[in-house]
């Protein structure tokens, strides 16, 4: 009796906790509300299964508890029941997988008008590179990294001459413009994670990975490293500042002239 009751409390208590707990996802600030929708669908389906099975267990434990004279029913299998359960489970799984894969296709398909930016990780700070007036990022090579060229930008490539470099600071982005972030690391694996953007992807040394999103509201959002990268891992923070287009443009122009001077061939 007590066991059955406790199981009922666990099943219902978990649901109550889910509904009443103050801990829930951060308000979204990007276009990935589809992801949130998929999570909600998954919560409904799995929650229903959880409660149904635990309550059924509790019922069985109460109803078929040992009493003098009780004999269990001898029934090795029921093909019909097993088939039914398999089919129902298959449908439930498909109901979660289908929207999941659909959204994943969007997640990895970068729109044509996305602006390339670069996010670079190193122990234990973030750097960013934005294309200058030409709208293009220059090529890079880890082996070119040096104190006066912390991102390893090739000075041969004219596209890189006007790139805007932000070291260890804030990443500024214009609101409502899709960005494709090219992710790169010069030492160990890091992970670019902004909870409000629902964005997360590893930065792997030796290769370039990417992630795209469209910031949908202005504000400042924290960047965390989400892949263990050594003892400084929890201190590897940064921020994304999403601004109105005009504000952003004004800032970018101020920056572009500065980096131009620093990286121009004459300055070498």
């Amino acid at each position: 009796m007590a066991v059955a009751l406790i199981l009922v409390v666990i099943a219902l208590g978990s649901v109550v906790f889910h509904l009443l707990s103050p801990w829930w996802w951060t308000p979204i600030a990007s276009n990935w509300s589809y992801i949130d929708t998929t999570i909600v669908i998954t919560f409904w389906i799995t929650g229903a299964v959880f409660v149904a099975i635990i309550l059924f267990m509790a019922y069985c434990i109460y109803r078929f508890r040992h009493q003098p004279g009780r004999q269990a029913h001898y029934e090795p299998e029921s093909k019909r029941l097993e088939l039914w359960l398999t089919v129902v489970t298959g449908v439930g799984v498909a109901a979660m997988l289908a929207p999941g894969l659909f959204v994943w296709r969007q997640f990895i398909t970068v729109p044509q008008d996305a602006t390339d930016i670069e996010i670079l990780g190193q122990q234990w700070q973030w750097s960013f590179r934005l294309p200058g007036p030409d709208g293009k990022l220059g090529i890079t090579d880890t082996r070119l990294v040096s104190p006066d060229n912390p991102l390893g930008i090739s000075k041969e490539d004219p596209n890189g001459q006007d790139d805007v470099i932000v070291e260890g600071g804030e990443l500024r982005l214009p609101v409502d413009k899709p960005v494709k972030a090219l992710l790169r690391s010069v030492d160990v694996i890091h992970n670019f994670y902004v909870p409000e953007m629902r964005a997360k992807m590893d930065l792997v040394p030796g290769q370039v990975s990417y992630i795209w999103f469209t910031p949908t509201r202005t504000g400042t959002f924290e960047i965390l490293c989400a892949e263990l990268c050594g003892v400084g891992h929890p201190q590897m923070r940064g921020s994304v500042v999403v601004q109105e287009q005009s504000e952003y443009q004004a800032w970018l122009e101020g920056q572009a002239s500065r980096s131009f001077a620093r990286l121009a061939p004459a300055a070498q």
Partner: protein
């Protein structure tokens, strides 16, 4: 699925070789230390694994102290914290769970349950344990090595695992870890071959594969998988050891570390992840399948009812085992691998939910119309269903590629895998120990202590890990020495962390009660007799309890029926042992 017709099974023919004295141990050393008796080896494996488990438990206390009360315990600095989580993870997954299920329960139960006198290669079996023991010594030695153990996280991802920004990366820690793993795998391979061959070749007359208890099926499938999966880890460990010690670049691309350009080029960090998870995902099921098997038998025995859908249970085990080799990259959705892999691995991962769900249904349907005895082993089995169901369902979040993006690398993952492959299998281990302790010692474990142990462990573990999911949902990352200031984390989350820590300390402490029970009942436990649970399987039918070397006395048993003849209509008792001849046919299996 051929069935041995009842009429054709005669007594086993006399053994070709007489049972000579030579086979049996004569000295204390050959009987208890370098023993070739699978049952002694099982106890050696179990005690070693449980000891490692106690170390891992203390490590979990330390890390929870830091998470619950950051900055209060000054001796836990960031280095120490990462060393604690790394060692806790690796110890629990490999040196405790794998060793206990396969080396411990496998050794004890396989020969007894299939009606063999011992494992087929007893000498290799002995070597297997001692090599495992050596691996444990090497692992523990890293606590005392200069620089301490590795703090790379149990996944040991390069490049950080072998660089100076990680504890033990440029010291002995990572080297000892890799060597210990390699030694472990060598030892396991010896044991694993034994378990597989014994099941295939050592079964008693009449013990067809489809009459084997699900415990044997679970351990057998898991051993087979481990033999295929561990080599991938072995290769990864060798390559990383070369990268660390010889300066090769298997996993090392061009790297600038703290301003210094390293002399490395061309390696792939992702290659290690593929090798690691090609091992790592089957590993989850290497731990889970024995638990599935054991829990099936616990539920069936204590509900006095045949396991529901036995054949489906066997096929589900095999399907899960096979599928688990094609889902590994679901650990790598946000690793920077080709994103199109996501479609394939999400699909395979969610398909694996179907055979897994069938197993859950069949456990619950075994309770339906049963005669449920809420003995301590049964309580643990029921708690397993709850926690496994919970952890399995959250797996559907993480397996579904796009849902994984916000949740990956957060506390949601920590909560998920602890629930599904930490708490759930450990509850089965406890249930199994309460269940088989009488066979091993001839005495029952104390019931009252058992019930206290059960309720605190089960409810405590649920209170620890259920709310933890919501921290992850909020965005709290895992493997953070301290959360510090995070704009989106409210103060209440810190309170929750402190609560989790307090519960974890209590749950940990109650395990000491269990250890006490193990030793106390050895002398003071109620005498159990040979078959206290009135179970059908062969290990309960031995002529002596505890069974001596050779298990069966003069004659090995002959098997006449499947393992689940409970409450057969018209039978005198509510169970019929597998070795009991008679016309009460094994109804469910006769059409196999």
């Amino acid at each position: 699925m051929t069935d041995v017709p009842l009429g054709h099974v005669g007594p086993a023919p006399a053994a070709d070789v007489e049972d000579v004295e030579l086979y049996h141990p004569h000295s204390w050393i050959t009987k208890y230390v370098f023993s070739q008796d699978a049952k002694v080896i099982a106890i050696q494996y179990s005690l070693t694994a449980l000891s490692v488990g106690l170390i891992a438990l203390v490590l979990s206390w330390l890390m929870r102290l830091q998470l619950g009360f950051p900055g209060v315990f000054t001796f836990i600095d960031a280095n120490a914290y990462y060393q604690f989580i790394t060692m806790h993870g690796m110890m629990m997954v490999v040196y405790v769970l794998t060793a206990l299920f396969l080396g411990g329960f496998g050794n004890y139960l396989i020969p007894l349950m299939v009606g063999a006198r011992d494992m087929v290669f007893p000498y290799v079996n002995m070597l297997s344990f001692w090599i495992y023991f050596l691996a444990v010594l090497i692992l523990v030695a890293s606590f005392f090595a200069p620089g301490g153990p590795t703090g790379a996280g149990w996944t040991l991802y390069p490049p950080q695992a072998i660089l100076s920004g990680t504890p033990g990366g440029q010291d002995w820690g990572i080297i000892l870890m890799l060597v210990s793993l390699m030694v472990f795998i060598i030892g396991f391979t010896m044991g694993g071959l034994n378990y597989v061959v014994t099941v295939l070749q050592g079964r008693a007359r009449g013990m067809t594969l489809m009459r084997m208890p699900l415990t044997v099926w679970g351990i057998f499938t898991a051993s087979f998988m481990a033999l295929l999966a561990f080599p991938a880890l072995f290769v990864g460990a060798v390559m990383m050891l070369f990268d660390r010690a010889l300066g090769t670049s298997f996993f090392m691309p061009a790297i600038v570390e703290m301003g210094q350009t390293l002399d490395r080029n061309g390696g792939s960090p992702l290659l290690f992840q593929h090798l690691f998870w090609f091992f790592g995902h089957p590993e989850v099921y290497i731990v889970a399948l024995p638990a599935f098997g054991i829990v099936s038998d616990l539920i069936s025995t204590h509900a006095r009812r045949n396991i529901f859908g036995y054949r489906m249970m066997v096929w589900a085990l095999l399907a899960i085992g096979a599928l688990s080799f094609v889902v590994w990259a679901h650990h790598m959705y946000v690793s920077g691998m080709n994103p199109y892999f996501g479609f394939f691995f999400a699909t395979t991962t969610l398909i694996i939910a179907i055979p897994t769900a069938i197993k859950v249904y069949n456990w619950v349907l075994t309770l339906w119309r049963g005669d449920i005895h809420l003995n301590v082993p049964m309580l643990f089995a029921l708690a397993f269903i709850v926690t496994f169901l919970n952890g399995g369902l959250t797996g559907l979040f993480l397996g579904n590629v796009v849902v994984d993006v916000p949740l990956s690398d957060t506390m949601f993952v920590v909560a998920h895998f602890h629930m599904v492959m930490g708490v759930a299998p450990i509850l089965v281990i406890f249930g199994a120990i309460y269940h088989w302790y009488p066979k091993v010692t001839g005495r029952m474990l104390d019931d009252t202590l058992g019930k206290i142990h059960f309720w605190v462990t089960f409810l405590g573990a649920y209170l620890i890990f259920f709310p933890m999911h919501y921290l992850g949902l909020m965005g709290v990352p895992r493997r953070y020495y301290e959360i510090g200031e995070m704009s989106f984390v409210p103060l209440s989350a810190h309170t929750l962390n402190a609560f989790i820590t307090i519960v974890a300390l209590i749950v940990g402490a109650v395990q000491l009660l269990f250890v006490f029970n193990l030793f106390w009942s050895l002398r003071h436990g109620r005498a159990s007799g040979g078959n206290p649970w009135r179970a059908t399987t062969l290990e309960w039918q031995t002529p002596e309890t505890p069974p001596p070397h050779g298990n069966w006395g003069k004659e090995v048993p002959t098997v006449y029926r499947w393992a689940y003849d409970y409450s057969v209509p018209g039978a005198a008792e509510d169970y019929i042992p597998q070795n009991q001849p008679g016309t009460q046919s094994s109804a469910g299996m006769s059409h196999g």
